[in-house]
Structures are given as C-alpha cells and as structure tokens.
C-alpha cells in the first residue's frame, strides 16, 4: 500500500463516517514492519603517527519487525490526542575502508578494508499526536500527526585495529568489531489507521505511519554517524475501545 492509497482511503472515510465523540478513546497493540532499509555512511578522521588518517564506513540495515502500543483519547468530537510507543529492530552489516598513516613517512598511507555482518539497529519511538477520526458502525478511520522522540541504538564500527611490522608498508587488519552507541532526537510522524470493530469494545485494525528524524551517533574515536530513523511502518493488531 502506498501513501497515495492511504490518503484516498482517509479522504473517503472522512466523508462517509461520523466523528467519534468526546470522551471516547481506544488503545491498541500492533505488530509492525518497518519497510524502509536504512543506509548510512560516515567518514572519520583520526590522528596517528603525527598525521591524519581516515576511515570511511558504510552501514546497511534491512527492513525489520517491531511493535507498537498506544492509547488515544477524544477531546471533542473527532479530535483527540494519542500517545504511542513503538520499537523496531533491524539486522545489517558494515563495510569500511581505512587509510592508516605510515609511521615513518609522510603521505604514504596504508590502505585496508574490512566488514562485519550481524550488526543491528534498534529504534524506540514515543509518538505524541493530534488525531482526527471518523467512525461508522463497524469502521473507524483515524488520521494523526505529531512529534516523535526517537532513541536509536546501533552497532557502529569500533576503531579498526591492525598489526604491522617493519618496514610498515602494509597493515594486517584484525577482524572488525562493533560497539553499541545510542542517541535521541525529536522528529515527526504522521499516519492513518483503519479499525474494524468486531464487538462493542474490541476491534482489529491496520495502520500506516511515516516518521522521521536524523539521529547523530558518536563513533569512536571522534566521529559522527547520522542515521535517518523511522521511515514508513505498516502495522496490524487489536483494538480496545472505551
């Protein structure tokens, strides 16, 4: 389902359904699939043997599963607030190329490269949204948008280690290792959910949410990795109405 499809569905729902009443609310729990792959790169500079060296790292994290729970409360007819907490995890890999300064000569860097699979990226997000919903006898459509507090924890490349021996013209890199780094950032989100009531208090629903923020992670020794957190996530789960 594309964002265009969701927009059409939302528009149709708004025109055919009545607003939900003030004082009503719902809670939900959904399984989520974060559809976007996350790719990020960083370039680090470091000082070694009285000269600058560099490491360029590319990260690729696959789409991955997650979950979300939330609660919504209608302040007045059709309009309300919702608070949701979501998490997601992705597996990925990193690849780097490095230029290590030569200990004895200027401008004679030794190049090396390495990679590591099995690194992960975990996101948690707290969404605080303004919502507007329309409800029919069985169906309810809710659009929402607001702010998101992201926390991203990712495995980043540790400082590459190597061994060398005289005459030091090449290096033997040791297997790449990753260290966990985390950071938080406020971003945004917007989306749409469609519920189907299977009883007075219960229902099922699907949801699409797009969220985003650029989170900066510190990487060793003094680098920065910018990760585009969020992306488009599709979810489906149960609903509880009150």
């Amino acid at each position: 389902m594309t964002r265009a499809h969701l927009g059409v569905a939302l528009a149709v729902a708004i025109f055919v359904a009545a607003p939900a009443r003030a004082g009503e609310g719902r809670a939900w729990a959904s399984g989520v699939f974060n559809t976007a792959k996350v790719e990020a790169s960083e370039s680090r500079a470091f000082r070694e043997f009285a000269e600058d060296g560099s490491v360029d790292v590319d990260y690729a994290f696959d789409a991955g599963p997650g979950g979300e729970i939330g609660i919504e409360y209608r302040l007045k007819s059709g309009i309300g607030l919702q608070l949701a907490a979501a998490f997601g995890s992705r597996d990925g890999s990193l690849r780097y190329t490095a230029a290590f300064p030569h200990p004895l000569y200027l401008n004679r860097h030794r190049s090396a490269s390495g990679e590591q699979d099995g690194v992960s990226l975990t996101e948690t997000a707290i969404h605080l949204d303004l919502v507007y919903g329309k409800r029919g006898p069985k169906w309810e459509v809710v659009g929402f948008a607001g702010a998101t507090l992201f926390n991203v924890e990712a495995d980043v490349l540790d400082r590459p280690q190597y061994t060398h021996a005289y005459p030091y013209d090449s290096v033997s890199v040791l297997p790449a290792t990753a260290v966990s780094r985390s950071a938080s950032k406020v971003g945004f989100n917007a989306g749409l959910s469609v519920d189907y009531r299977v009883g007075a208090k219960f229902g099922i629903g699907v949801q699409g949410r797009f969220s985003g923020a650029t989170v900066e992670l510190d990487t060793p020794p003094e680098g920065t990795l910018e990760i585009d957190a969020g992306g488009f996530a599709l979810g489906a789960g149960v609903r509880l109405y009150f």
Partner: protein, 539 residues
Amino acid sequence: MQKTLWIAIALALGASSAQAADPPGTRRVAAGSGAALSDWDFRVGRLEAQGELRLRQSRADELMPGRVHERFAQLHRGVPVWGGELVRQRTEAETISVFGTFYEGIELDVAPKLGARDAEAAIAARGLVLPVGEAPVLTVLPRESGYALAWRAEAHTTGDGGFDIRMLFLDAISGETLFEYSNLQWQSAVGNGTGVLSDPKKMSVLSGSGGFLADDQLRPPRLRTFDMRGNLGRTLQFLNGQVALGQSDLAADADNVWTDGAVVDAHAYAGYTYDYLYKRFGRRGLDDQNGRILSLVHPVNRSDIFGYSDSVISTFYLNAFYCCDGIMVYGEGLPSNLQLTTGQRVNYWSAALDVVAHELAHGVTDFTSALIYFGEPGALNESFSDIIAAGAEFFHQEAGSGLLRADWLLAEDAITPGGIRSMANPAAYGDPDHYSVRFTGSEDNGGVHINSGIPNHAFYLAIEGGRNRVSGLSVTGVGLANREQVEKVFFRAFTAMLPPSADFAAARAATLQSARDLYGAGSNVERAIRDAWTAVGVQ
C-alpha cells in the same frame, strides 16, 4: 681510530655487562611445591630470624581471598642487597610458593671509605641533582665478578640537555661509577620535523615524561642522533674513545615538533638509507645484523669558525664523514656570509639525503669488502658510496633537478648550487670520466674522490645510457625505470665479491659476473654494464 673506539665502547658497556651477569652464589628461586618449597619456606623463616631478610611488604591478594604475598628484602650485615628479594605466598595454614633471587655467600666488608656526603658531591660533580629529601643509600651491588659496596642514588639531570633520571651506583671505596642506567620510562613516538630545506618529515623518536629524544624505536637497529651542541672537544673525545655518549647527548625536543633541520635530516635520512638498503637489497643495516647507526650533528658552532684551524674547518665544517663502527659525523657548513671559492654555499651536510646515504654506505663497505681507502680500491670505495647515495635518492625522491630531487649530482642539497660531484658528467667537476685521464698523483689518498668519477660514470651509463666524452663510445642503458637491476648488480659485486685491494678491472669483472648471475649471460643488464665499463676505458 676504529680499534680504539671498540675498546672504549667495551669499557663503556663494561659496567652494564658486568651487572647483567649473575655473581657466584646467585640463587634463582621458583619453588611452588614439594621439597624445594618446604626448604625455601624454612629458609625464609631462618634468614629473617638471622637478619638476612627483612619483611618489607605484606599485601593481601585481591584476586584470591585468603592469600597473602610477603616480600622479603635481602640484607648483608644490615645493608640491602640490590635485587635480592624473596616473595612468599601463603595462606593462614600453609605456604603456597616462594619466588625470588637470593645471593648466597656474600663476603663483603660493609664499612664504606666514602661517606654519603662524598657520594652526593660526586653526583653533583656530574651535573646531576638529588630530589629534595633523597640521599644516597648504602647498597651491596651484585656484579659478575662478585659484590661491591656502593652508594645507590636516583639522580636527575639538569640543564637544557633534556630530562633523565639516572640510577647510579658509586663505589663506596673508590667513588667510581660501578653501574648506572636510566630509570626514566620511555616509549616509541613519532613526531613532525622540518628539515634544513624546510621540508617536512616524520621523526621516529623516544618519548618520555621529560620530552622526546632522537632515538628511533621503530626501525630494527639502534638508530640514534646526537646533538654535540658545538662541543668539539666532547665530539673528539667520543670519536677517540675517551668518553661514551649517553641519553643526555641525544638530540632532544620538548614538544615533538622538531625544528633543528640538521638534527631532523640526519635522523630521518639515516632511517631512509636503512630502509633503502633493506628494501632494495634485503640488507639489515651496515653490518647486516642491525648494528647501531649513530649520527653526530653540530660538532662545532658555525659562529666559532674563525677560532678553528684549517684542519678543523675542513673536517667539521666542510665535510661529513663515516668514522667507524656505525658512527657518522655531519659537518656544520658555513655561516651565511661565507662561501667557497667556487661561489657555492655550504649548508648543514646532513641536509642532503645522498650525503647521509654516502656516509652510511662507507659503513657497509667497512663491514663487507673493506676496500682499502687508497688508490683504485679507495676510488671504488668512494664510488660505491656514491652509487648507494644516488640509489637512495632515486628510491625516495622524485627524479628531477633542483633541491630535494633525485639526480646524478652528489651533495647538491647541501652544497649549493650544484653539489660536489656528478656521476653523469664527472668532468664538469674536474673529475676523470675515463680511465685514460685518471688521476695518478698522491693527493686525495691517490685520488679516491677524484677517480671515483670513472666507476661512477660507468654506473650512470649502464642505467641512463649515453656517450662517453673521451672514448666517444655510446652505451644503451637499461633505463631509469630498471635501475634496480644495475643497483643490485653493483651492490652484490661490491659487497660480496670484491676483495679489499680490488682495482677497477676487478670491479668490471665482478659486476659482469654479478650481472650474469642475477640476470643471465647475454642479458641486457650484462650488456649495458659491459658497454659502460668499456666506454670509460676499464677493461
């Protein structure tokens, strides 16, 4: 001079060697079980009761609760024995292990003839100071030959020669220094340096809390650069084997950003030359055993030049030389207001990579063919140094003309403009380029520098090709890109095949044999070298 120096070095190192070996009665204890443990456990108790051991420390084992480690210092008639200590590990119930060193059978009178004040005076006389509150401690010093009563003191260097902490052992009878070492903890470091010609380089040095010293810790040999700070007397004393240079003589820098160009170039270029010899020929330094490489800079001050004799000026201002046993001395050059009669200016001699490589190559010759430094073998000796010099330049610098470029001139970065010799055109500097015009007089040791032009030109022609000025014969060289082949041929011939008395004809024969061995009979290399020797009139 070389023999004298060997003796001096042996004397200088003698104390260290004596200390390194164990005296009679040394017991290295490593008792972890059985009868040995029972025996040493019993002996610790008995020796402590007899006053030969004193518990100096008892510490609980933080990794194994219930274990205690006791350190017992050895005493001889109440005087501590340097290095003598037993360490006992025990629980409340039993002894687990005893390790350490114990010196048995010490026969030594512990009444010093010199008092602590005398020791302090001796330390002060060396320009060292004791930290406030510290005093010499009477000590029994184990030596290879036995035991000596000594005043032990940890003294600091003073002045601008860098910082060092010297552990001294002064004979409590005679006052002489029995043994000493630096107690300053050092580690390898790499710094930035600016050469004489303002070119940046890296400096592989020694780092410590007191600053940085020109002592390369990254290359295999002991590669050190001494700043003689214009002290010609000390320089001569060292070269004559009368004093040994120590850590305080090393060139030093406080922040590891080295700005003394003469020091930077001497130190860096010695390393460059070592690297060239290793990478090109697989040779490990001058003696092929990573023997020491010592560079001496600033043997005199430029401003003192008018106070010196012609002999000193020609040796320590207008020259660089390989002394002996891995020691190079680089002349100071001339003050900026003075120049040679040729109109050339003379900079610090270490400014030129080819000069440094040339001098180090004399060391290689010393340890290999030992070509006699007179007449034709002497000219071959000089020529081999020039060949290595040019090879090192082309190995490390871009080919071209001007400063810091690889070319066929010698010392052009120190003696400007033009350097002192040309391998491409020896005649331009008054040197012969053909055997028929060789120098036959007695000056210059029978023309060792002058006649080096002939084999130098042969080497050049074998690589670059060209036409000899005298014979008119043309040579097709192997090309600069293939110079490695000719370099290897000459290196192999000069270091492995020539006898000390070799003449030019022998050099021709040896290089041709070397070329055939390496590249095959009839190879381009053999042909180029044969044609080159023929072109310069050497048959």
